[in-house]
Symmetry: C2
């Protein structure tokens, strides 16, 4: 596991760097940001993944914090696609345990609920619980905290939100039931992005994104390079390429530090074999 | 491309097999089902992916039709996860061009719209158009056709749905703007599932799902088997394994027919190397 203080010290060199996190106060991303940068962090929030990337590339903040993968539902592919679109780097990661609560206004009981608001991931992660209440209308809302805010503002005992305890606390909602996530081993991995590539002595994970020529064996040849250089592949996610039906980009994580010879060699060969290649980052893993 | 009549003839041996499709009348899945099985098909519909699997394994229908991948937004991972959960096979596939319309009741104009209803994929596929109207509230609704039905029943000029022409026609809505999908090269691949494994002379695509032991090189060793037996890998999708954070299942498609020696050999070796292996199907590709 990651040493949070060490990470904070590495990133906050000046001590006054501005941060943008995805979501709103009370969201899991907010919790991740506080965890990484501390309570005294100078942070703003943006309500879409893309807005976090935008304020970063515009230079308004030094770092961005966004979710990239959930251990139960998989990769957050929108964020992966944005990492390909914007010229920025992953400089760190932090895993947060996600335990969802069903929350409503004062007096709202389980039997009153008719509508449930949460982020797509929140709804997905509570699928089994929600399937026991098939009469509920489910609404895919901006994020978990905004869902809590909306339920509070509606002042209706028929509406509930799914989110974290922090959101319930911030918006003054009661917890009707918790935890309601299907899988109690439920973590979200958050990334810290920056305009600069920052690699430290203790960085031990590398992320790359590549397009491959549409020929047989092209993915095999890339994975072979990783394997033959004794590098451990941690994750691979395929993404469609816009306008090229049934062709794919690959987002790959493997262990290593950019200073290592085997890593330099592997990256050089993979670059050659790719139609399009981007080094996304070299950072300390937290898993 | 697939010969639809040939596929229909292969599957509808008795001519009276019952079919269940995902969604409701007017959905893209309905369009795919009609395309495969014809207007005279004896079809029912189910409003969740899992319900289609359930009526199939219970023997209430012979075939199920569901979307599994979109060429712009990627794999429909819920369906992949259900293919792993339920004991059934993919016996065919059909690609459908997806062109989305923004539709509303009589008199609703673009400037009246405040709320937009569609399936997650519909919202994702029209992201650029929707971003030009940031004031709209987006609701992730059951499916595109049900979104159209809801907008019709609301009788409000402030609500709009995103879906296909068929849905607009079926529910008597006007098309306000079309096509609104970001990518005009937008296809969804639908699968036909059955309780029996059905492989035909012209089947040229194999789907497998496997878990891999959590050791370095395990995915490399599987892809190597495919490559070394001269088989072309068409798609790979990684999925999390519930309760085992940061371990993955892989859903892999490759070209071949189960009668071929190279295919038998490859499958035997992959089975040995996997912690868990399932042959999902051998069918005629449509891409």
């Amino acid at each position: 596991m990651i040493n949070e203080l060490e990470l904070r010290k590495q990133l906050l060199k000046m001590g006054n760097e501005k941060i943008a996190y995805f979501g709103v106060p009370g969201s899991y991303s907010h919790e991740a940001m506080l965890n990484i940068f501390g309570e005294e962090a100078d942070a703003i929030y943006r309500e879409s993944f893309e807005e976090v990337f935008k304020v970063l590339v515009e230079g308004k903040v030094k770092y961005g914090v966004l979710p990239i993968e959930n251990s139960s539902t998989g990769g957050i592919t929108d964020v992966m696609d944005l990492l390909k679109k914007y010229d920025c780097y992953v400089v760190g990661e932090k895993c947060i345990a996600i335990n969802h609560c069903l929350m409503g206004i004062d007096g709202a009981k389980l039997e009153d609920i008719e509508e449930v608001y949460s982020h797509t991931q929140g709804l997905l992660q509570c699928k089994e619980f929600l399937e026991q209440h098939k009469q509920w209308k489910l609404f895919d809302y901006y994020n978990t905290a905004k869902s809590a805010e909306y339920v509070k503002s509606s002042n209706s005992i028929h509406k509930a939100a799914i989110g974290g305890k922090a959101a319930a606390k911030l918006y003054g909602l009661n917890i009707i039931k918790q935890p309601i996530n299907s899988n109690k081993e439920n973590y979200t991995r958050f990334i810290i992005i920056s305009k600069e590539l920052m690699s430290f002595e203790n960085s031990d994970k590398i992320s790359i994104i590549l397009n491959l020529p549409h020929v047989s064996g092209s993915l095999y040849n890339v994975i072979k390079v990783i394997y033959e250089n004794n590098l451990n592949m941690m994750m691979i996610e395929s993404r469609p390429i816009m306008g090229m039906p049934w062709e794919y980009s690959f987002y790959i994580d493997f262990e290593g530090n950019l200073k290592e010879e085997r890593v330099k060699k592997a990256i050089d060969i993979i670059k050659e074999k790719s139609a399009d290649f981007r080094l996304v980052g070299n950072y300390k893993k937290d898993m």
